[in-house]
Structures are given as C-alpha cells and as structure tokens.
C-alpha cells in the first residue's frame, strides 16, 4: 500500500509561499501527475514527499502513516531526477547494485543479483549491464536512473521531469515505456512535469498547480473537457483554447459583433463573460455565421491549424489537411455551441462547472 495524502500542506521560502494549503489524495497504484508552469510548486511538493524538505504547515501521510518524523530513507520512496545522477566510472550493473549494497538493507548477493537482473529486463537494458555509464546515450542513462529506483522496490516512485532533457523523439517513446512500466509494477507514481502532453498521455489523474495552489484535480479527460477555470483551459491543450470576450444578454452570449450567439447553461450573475472554444470545435466551411480572413496556416501533417482573423480578434481552428487554405483568403466558420465553455472574466471560474 502506498497511498499518499497531503493535508493542507504549506511551504514558505522567506516571503514567498511555494505551496499554499495544498491537499492531495494519491491512490495506491495510481499514475498521478503534478502539472504546472515554472514556480507552480510542483517540485517542492515532490521534495516534501521524499523527505528532502519539511513543510511549514500541514502534514503528509504515506500508506496511512504521518511521515513528518521519518527520514528520507525511512519513507521508502524513490526519486528520479531530470538529470541522471549516475556514477560515471561504474558499469550499469554496479550503478544498479549500489542502492542495494547499503548496510541497512542487508541483502544477500543472490537477492541483489536477482533484483538487478529483473530491473535490467524490465527496462530492456540487460545488454548494457557491463558498460560504463558514460558510454550510454541519454535515453539509456535515464533508463538506468529509473532502474536504480526500481531495484529498491520502493513503496512509491517520485519523478521530477525525468524526460525533459531528452530530445522530442526519444521523449515520445520513453513516455510510453514509463506508463507501461507503471502498469506492470502496479506501483504508485507521482510525476512532475510542465508539459501538458506528458501529463495527458500518462496520468491516471492530473493535478494542475499554479502559484502554489491546487487549481484542479481530475482525469485527463476532465481536465481537457471540463477545465475549472481560465488557467487550466489555456494551459492544457495545444494549440491553446481560444478565448473571446462576449456580450451577455440574459442567458445568451454573443460574439463577433452578434454574428454568432451562444446559449449559456444559465443566466450568469455577471456580464463579464469569456467564451472558450478549442480549435477542433471551430467549424470552418463554406457556410457558417461568421466571416474571417485566414491570417496564418500551419501544416501539421494530417491536419492544418489555421489562424482566423475577425476584426481585431484571432482564433485558431483545426481543419483537415486536405482543405485548401490560403493566407488572406476569406472563409466562413461557426463555433460548436455544445463545446463552448463560459468563464467569469473577473474570477476566471468556469460558469458551467
């Protein structure tokens, strides 16, 4: 069992509040992602779980036990960093054996051999066992770093942007490997990243943090389709969700000078409303209530992302790669009213959530 709980955890550095009354609940065997921009507090949260740092307020539980008085080693969790921390003069095997040789573990050589063999197989690095780690590629080094965590058979894995130093192609394949590994080990993973694609593609649950505060926790589907506020709406998804100010009258919200009107779920208490619509929910075609100029066309292989200009407003639309789209050409479009989100301009909160 390695359920991890945060109870109103606060951490301050001088006058700067890195974490502000953060409460989290990570279930056993879950791939839990902490997502946010630089300075959101996600790495601080991870260090607090690992015991590398102590909270100023609140408490942390691992497997139902308050770990406030436990040392890092006693917590029995493994940390994998962005920079692979390997011993360059050691072979892969020696690097993997190292954490097991600790006197407190008191493991037999056959037990050590078995664990190292198993980790090597799991990570597909068995053929590299006798190579020195300075002779490995970036992806292989990161696998060995993860291997050093695996051999310990910890209660939970904590990962701090382990993929961010790898190039785009390698990152893509390691993303899958990590998710696969987590499923096979049935282990609890807490994974920190600022990359929303990583969060969406690997996480069972994603917690979005901003400025030390938890903004939303949910499945990738919930985060993408039911963003709690403007921050989540624009941070998750690429291209970013289109955000347009609208004129409210009753429960109707009109945009582009009244060219398109959208029904809101209820009459809002405010008249300051922002409409949010994802690029794939902007329908470009021969007909449509709004006319626009094509400002830019981006080819993305199987689809194009076009930037539409209506007066001073810009919005992005995803269209099929077969659509003819030329810069400065006129097109018509409309928004799928079922897919529109409405946000309170002042508080940023999603009005339908």
């Amino acid at each position: 069992m390695a359920q991890i709980k945060f109870h109103s955890v606060t951490r301050k550095f001088g006058g700067n509040t890195a974490l502000d009354a953060l409460s989290l609940d990570v279930a056993d065997g879950e791939f839990f992602v902490l997502l946010g921009p630089t300075g959101a507090g996600k790495t601080t949260a991870l260090r607090l779980i690992a015991g590398l740092d102590a909270p100023d307020g609140g408490s942390i539980e691992i497997a139902g036990e308050d770990v406030g008085d436990q040392t890092s080693a006693e917590r029995d969790v493994a940390l994998v960093f962005q920079y692979y921390s390997l011993y360059p003069r050691y072979t892969v095997r020696q690097n993997l054996e190292f954490p097991l040789r600790s006197r407190t573990r008191n493991l037999s050589q056959s037990e050590i051999d078995m664990r190292v063999e198993k980790a090597g197989k799991t990570l597909r690095i068995s053929h590299l066992m006798d190579r020195k780690t300075d002779r490995l590629s970036g992806g292989e080094m990161q696998r060995v770093s993860i291997g050093r965590a695996i051999v310990r058979e910890p209660r939970a894995f904590l990962m701090d942007e382990p993929l961010s130093n790898l190039d785009a192609k390698l990152r893509e394949s390691l993303r899958l490997e990590l998710k696969d590994l987590q499923i096979r080990l049935k282990a609890t993973f807490v994974f920190v990243t600022h990359d929303q694609v990583e969060a969406m593609s690997m996480g069972d649950k994603v917690a979005v943090l901003n400025k030390g505060k938890l903004v939303q926790v949910g499945t990738p589907w919930e985060i993408y389709n039911r963003p709690r506020d403007l921050f989540v709406a624009s941070f998750v998804g690429s291209p970013s969700m289109n955000l347009l100010p609208c004129v409210v009258s009753g429960n109707e919200c009109s945009i582009f000078g009244g060219a398109q009107k959208l029904k809101m779920p209820a009459t809002p208490a405010t008249t300051g409303v922002t409409v949010g619509i994802r690029s794939e929910d902007v329908e470009v075609g021969p007909t449509g209530p709004v006319e626009a100029l094509i400002h830019d066309v981006e080819n993305h292989g199987m689809e194009k992302i076009i930037t539409l200009r209506v007066g001073d407003a810009f919005l992005r639309a995803t269209v099929s790669s077969r659509m003819q789209a030329n810069v400065d050409a006129k097109v018509k479009f409309g928004l799928d009213p079922q897919k529109a989100h409405f946000f309170d301009q002042e508080t940023g909160m999603n009005l339908s959530a």
């Binding site: 921009p37 690429s238 077969r322």
Partner: protein
C-alpha cells in the same frame, strides 16, 4: 531579389564530414527550414551561408554571385541566434537601431525605420526598456527587430525559439511567418523540431549525418517521405515501422508484420507495384502513420483482431497502442473510442497511407495505392 544557391557544398573537420555534397536552391522570398537531429550539419550550413563558417568545397551563390570569399558583413544577410544576443546596457530602441549606426543615415530616417519594425513586431511599448526587464519572448522580438531593421536580402535563423517555453513558441510561430510574408526577405530557418518545420516552412530540407535526405513541401515530406529516416523524423507520434513479409493468397496480398496475429490484407496490386519498383528487391519494411491504422469496434471482413494495450488521451484525440500478438502498432482515434486496456478491436491498414521501404537502403519504394491522403 535574394536567391541562395548551395552547390556541392562540403565541410569536414579532419576526416569527419559535417556536410557532404549538399545541393539546395532557396528561391527568392521562400521560407526554407533546415531540419534534422543535433549534429546533422544544419547549423554549419546556415553559418556557411552567413559567412561565419568557411566551406572546404563547393560554391555558395547569392543572387547569382559567388560569396564564399565575401566577409559576413558584405553579404547583406541578417542572422538571428537561439540566445538573444542583445546589448544589455542599451534600450530596446537602441538595440534595434544599432545596425544602422554605421550607415550614416539621418536621425529621422533611423527613427522611422526602428518604429516601423517595432510596430510589425508589436513591441512599440517596450522600446524604452532594457533587455534585463524584458520577458524571453520580447527579448527575442527585439533581436529579430534588430535583424530586420536593415531590410536584409535574407534572414537566417538558428533555432530562434529554442529558449522559449512551449506556449510562447506556438504564438511566435505565427508571428514569424506573418513577418516573413510582410518582409520581402528570403528566410532560412534551422530547427530540430519537426512541428516548427512543418508549420512554418514553404519547403523543408531534412538532413542527417551531413547528408541532405529530402527537400519538399511539408505535405510532400509528410505524405511521401523519401526514406525511413524522413518517415520517422517527421510526424508525431512517430510512424509505425515493421519488417514486412508478403504473400499472395487468393485475390489479395497478406502482409505479415511479425507473428501470425499480425497479418493484414492488402489489394493484389501491391504485389505488382513492388516488383515494378527499383528498390523493391530484398527485405521490405512497412511504414504507416497512426492515422492510417483504421479501427472498428465490431468484427469486419478484411480486418485483423487487436487488443488495446495502452491509451494516451491527448484531448482532441487519443493515441492507442494495439497489440497483434507480439507486434505493436499505434493508431489515432477520436477521443474515447478505444475504451480500456485489454479491450478487443479490429484493424486494417489503409493502403493509401501505407509506405514500403527497402529495409537495407531505407529508400522508399514510392508505391501509392488508392488516392487517400494526397
């Protein structure tokens, strides 16, 4: 006019070639992206055009004139680096005006030019600030402004967005392309990011190990990659690749991608197309992009059963890893289509989106079945 011609360019450090027999014509006002992994020679090529690097063989022509013996300053070319090289003690205005200092232009004329450039980059309100108080994106805008103010014949950019975060990069892509259209300059842009290349370029030149692999429009390199390297470098998620064994059975071709469970049906024309292709002898490798793996939730004729291994929900769509026995293929589906790990689905490979390559040389057989995507 600024047409750039690279003719048989070579560069080596000792015995190690950085660029090998590179031929490339960059047309007037074209936006060409040099794309490749690190160490492929793309930056060296760019620096050679700029005159920052000498070449060992070949010729570089700008507007028909050989320039390899001209100093960088005499080539009328502007260079934008990945790291904003701004003067920290000068304001944004002074940084942009700097290249005009030597031209002895009147103060009014300089002022007019600086403001015009600032307007097109939307940094007019920042002109009085020093670089240290600017955000990353704004610093890079100032750096680009400084390059543009001279109205150079050509703009060379070396990963100008490499240091910016993902969201800002998305915005800057659109800005840079607009800027290119509004300016009359030819642009050569270096990156290792295939999304940038695809989304901005008129044509992409893909390099690997100092050798030019393919030059073409984004559509061409995406839909008709010349070889396995291009096929796998362009596109995300990566194109599925597997060694293929072909067998004619009845009036169809069976393509086996490893193990009995990974057999896919293709029209019989495939056989004759392969035998007619010059690269068609020997072992073959099949390539298909995730969107070319077509799925059904019910059993259908000509479909192969598959088990869902992993689902990556990316919001607008899902990427699904499918197991066919031991073979693995990734498919792109609408969000929520595939359900959970362990679920059964049926798949076929769209012949129009199927690529075949010679396993040894990596060259494409250039077989086009049907008329699906382009």
């Amino acid at each position: 006019m600024a047409e750039i011609i690279l003719s048989n360019i070579e560069k080596h450090f000792g015995a190690a070639y950085v660029i090998r027999k590179l031929n490339l014509v960059i047309k007037h006002r074209e936006f060409v992206v040099l794309l490749g992994p690190s160490g492929c020679g793309k930056t060296t090529t760019l620096r050679a055009i700029a005159g920052l690097e000498e070449i060992d063989n070949g010729e570089i022509l700008i507007d028909g004139k050989p320039v390899q013996n001209l100093e960088a300053g005499d080539r009328d070319i502007a260079f934008v680096f990945q790291l904003f090289a701004l003067y920290p003690h000068l304001t944004a205005y002074e940084n942009i005006a700097f290249p005009l200092r030597a031209t002895r232009e009147s103060r009014e004329s300089v002022d007019k030019k600086v403001r015009a450039v600032a307007r097109s980059l939307q940094i007019e309100h920042l002109l009085g600030k020093r670089p240290s108080s600017l955000a990353g994106g704004d610093m890079q805008r100032v750096a680009i402004g400084r390059a543009l103010v001279r109205r150079p014949k050509a703009m060379l950019m070396d990963e100008p967005m490499g240091a910016l975060d993902a969201k800002l990069r998305e915005e800057m892509r659109t800005e840079l392309k607009r800027l290119h259209l509004e300016n009359e300059a030819t642009t050569v842009y270096v990156t290792h990011d295939q999304v940038e290349a695809m989304s901005m370029a008129d044509r992409i030149a893909i390099m690997n190990d100092g050798v030019l692999q393919q030059v073409g429009t984004p559509d061409e390199v995406y839909h008709h990659p010349a070889n396995l390297f291009v096929a796998q470098f362009v596109g995300s998620p990566v194109m599925n690749i597997a060694p293929a064994k072909l067998e004619s059975r009845g009036n169809a071709m069976q393509v086996n991608l490893g193990g009995e469970a990974a057999e896919f049906e293709f029209p019989s024309e495939l056989g004759s197309a392969i035998s007619q292709s010059p690269a068609g002898s020997g072992d073959l490798t099949l390539g298909i992009r995730p969107e070319g793996v077509l799925l059904s939730q019910v059993e259908k004729a000509g479909h192969t059963p598959a088990t869902v291994h992993l689902v990556e929900p990316l919001g607008a769509y899902d990427i699904v890893d499918l197991k066919f026995g031991t073979a693995l293929l990734r498919a792109r589906t609408r969000s929520g289509f595939a359900g959970k790990t362990g679920q059964k689905l049926w798949a076929r490979l769209d012949p129009a989106q199927t690529h075949l390559f010679n396993s040894k040389s990596g060259d494409s057989l250039h077989i086009r079945l049907g008329d699906g995507a382009n």
